[in-house]
Amino acid sequence: MAVPKLEQLSKSVVQGPSLATGAIPTMDWMEYPAVFKPGNYAYPAKAEKVAYLDSQSGLHFPNSREWSPEDEDWKLPADWKEIIIKGLKERLDKFRSLKIFMDCCVRCGACADKCHFFLGTGDPKNMPVMRAELLRSIYRNDFTLAGKIFGKMAGAREVTVGVLKEWFMYSYQCTECRRCSVFCPYGIDTAEVTMMLRELLHLVGVGINWILEPVSNSNRTGNHMGLQPHTFKDNVEFLVDDVESLTGVRPNISFNRKGAEVLFITPSADVFAEPGLYTAMGYLALFEAIGLDYTWSTYASEGGNFGLFTNNEAMKKLNAKMYAEAKRLGVKYIIGGECGHMWRVVHQYMDTMNGPADFLEKPVSPITGTVFENAASTKMVHISEFTADLIKHGKLKFDKSRNSHVKATYHDSCNTARAMGLMDEPRYILDHVVDWVEMPENTIREQTFCCGSGTGLNTDEIMELRMRSGLPRANAVKYVHDKHDVNMLACVCAIDRATLTSLMNYWNPGVGVCGVTELVANALVIEGENRAELDDGFRTML
């Protein structure tokens, strides 16, 4: 190969204006269009799903149609511009937070380099401040005096089809993980800006299938998968069989049982897909070990709430379903499984959106008598809070050596860490059941990096994008994998369990992914057990 001259090398491999070509971009950021090509966008929602959702009570998903992001013409309704501006006005009036977030950013840049999408792509429009600016520029243009008078000089611009395409591109390159908001001196929740962008896009029939089909399934059968009651029941029963063959103890279960003390709700992925299955087996073993009086529901058969990723009406309706079922069954309170965004909805939105669950009782552990004051309003206790309390009171017996095949690290799932402050309980549990180490400080707890595929971006057609956005998380796992031989990434979120598996398979082969409760069950000594040597814990094939 010839010796390269840098300029020639740059010209031959770099397309378009870039620092590498010596041509410093001269265009303003507003002038760069969003370009859609296979791999950089998630498939649009099927028209019949959107139409179905729009026909349902309490939901609003108008303008269903077949369209493609790659097409020039998105077949928007004729009055799309009025719909967007009217939609924005309604939201500015309804959500005081949005109005503040639009006004108070001083563009200090503290958030700019905190986003995993920015860190993985280097795309400036993935800086949270810029992503918000995509909406703010329209807000200035139509709702502020300065914007109306000075236009572009004041950072304002008119909403165009190009702007809408940009919104679609970047509101689906944000997982609403809220890492940026931790660093914002004004506490701007950029995730809520993304939520507003997505809401506005839904008004003109622009959404993605990986989100809207699960929402439609949840609305119809109660869970993302669209499982009907008998299928859901069968799946849980299969897991009961598995627990029995591994431990010699057959968990007692019930479905839709009126008068049970506790209703247990977890993401449906836990009863259906690996590696969540092992976490679900863990719940069954744990509840059997302590003799909990609880029931599953085949209607509230989903903890996940993809409604959060669409609009506030869908979020409200899917959240209400869990509580309607708790009321119908007459339980005292709910224990929630290892889910991520369910907890964000419960902790941050439910009280004002659906109202407190006054018809349930303040949760009290029947085993330890602990009153869960933190759940006094929502009446929903996290499985890790519940388990940590059991351990604290010496109610569980462990043989840690049963997890000797595991060297774990702990991934703080974004929603449980940043939206409900659940950081110490899972760590306390891990201390008792497994040998584990922390990842570097600026990648854990409230500074945790997202799996890169949350908010309904866990679809395979954007796998490259997911690998880019998951790089900061994977990079920290690689460090403990290399340094401490970590072979298991524990977490408390079903989306994490699915997506981190793919992320590890790409970046760190040899590192598995599991739920915390799986590790609990691996080490748990159950009275009356007849357990073989399980070299691989609950994953052992007998």
Binding site: M1, V3, P4, K5, L6, L9, S12, V13, V14, Q15, S18, L19, A20, E48, Y52, A112, D113, F118, L119, G120, T121, G122, P124, M127, N209, E213, P214, N217, R220, T221, H224, M225, G226, Q228, T231, A269, F272, A273, E274, P440, N442, T443, N458, T459, D460, M463, E464, M467, R468, L471, P472, N475, A476, Y479, A498, T501, S502, N505, Y506, W507
Partner: protein, 173 residues
């Protein structure tokens, strides 16, 4: 002044320029160059670490097999970013030019430019290995996608679950 001493003296400068050039292929190169914490800046941090290691191996005439680890560190990242294969790998070649430029600017080491044949050859070998590694990571990416589809999470939207049939018949509409 022999070549080995020249590499020792100017190695850091060459690597700095090489890193800067490589990171200039990203739109937000400023941050990627500046932030030195590898966990706060995984792209910049990994590329800096790997190019530093690669340069030592290239300049010492190490066996081509030893290029693999640092190359994987760089190419695993660039093969999932929006680069063509050529764009992903091209910055590796820049070290030839940068080394010449740095030596040429030093009066006492100008003559070393004529002695870079072996170094150039090592860079060529690294470039060829980089293409293989690029393909390995692309194939791994496709495999990850296939695994995910097979694992059942696609059932979320495209399953043959009995309840799916109901939607097809529009029973529940």
């Amino acid at each position: 002044m022999d070549l080995a001493e020249g590499f020792r003296n100017h190695g850091e400068k060459i690597v700095d320029k090489w890193v800067e050039y490589t990171l200039s292929t990203y739109t937000s190169s400023g941050f990627f160059v500046k932030e030195r914490d590898i966990f706060a800046n995984p792209v910049g941090g990994n590329i800096r670490q790997a190019l530093g290691q690669l340069f030592v191996k290239l300049s010492k005439g190490a066996d081509a097999g030893e290029f693999t680890a640092p190359l994987e560190q760089i190419i695993s990242i660039r093969s999932v970013q929006q680069f063509t294969p050529a764009q992903a790998i091209a910055p590796l070649n820049a070290v030839k030019h940068i080394t010449r430029e740095v030596f040429a600017a030093d009066k006492e080491r100008k003559h070393l430019v004529a002695e870079l044949y072996d170094f150039d050859f090592a860079v060529d070998l690294a470039m060829l290995a980089a293409f293989d590694i690029y393909m390995q990571f692309r194939e791994r990416l496709y495999q990850v996608r296939i695994n995910e589809i097979k694992s059942g999470s696609h059932i979320l939207t495209d399953s043959k679950c009995p309840s799916k049939l109901l939607t097809d018949k529009k029973v529940l509409k």
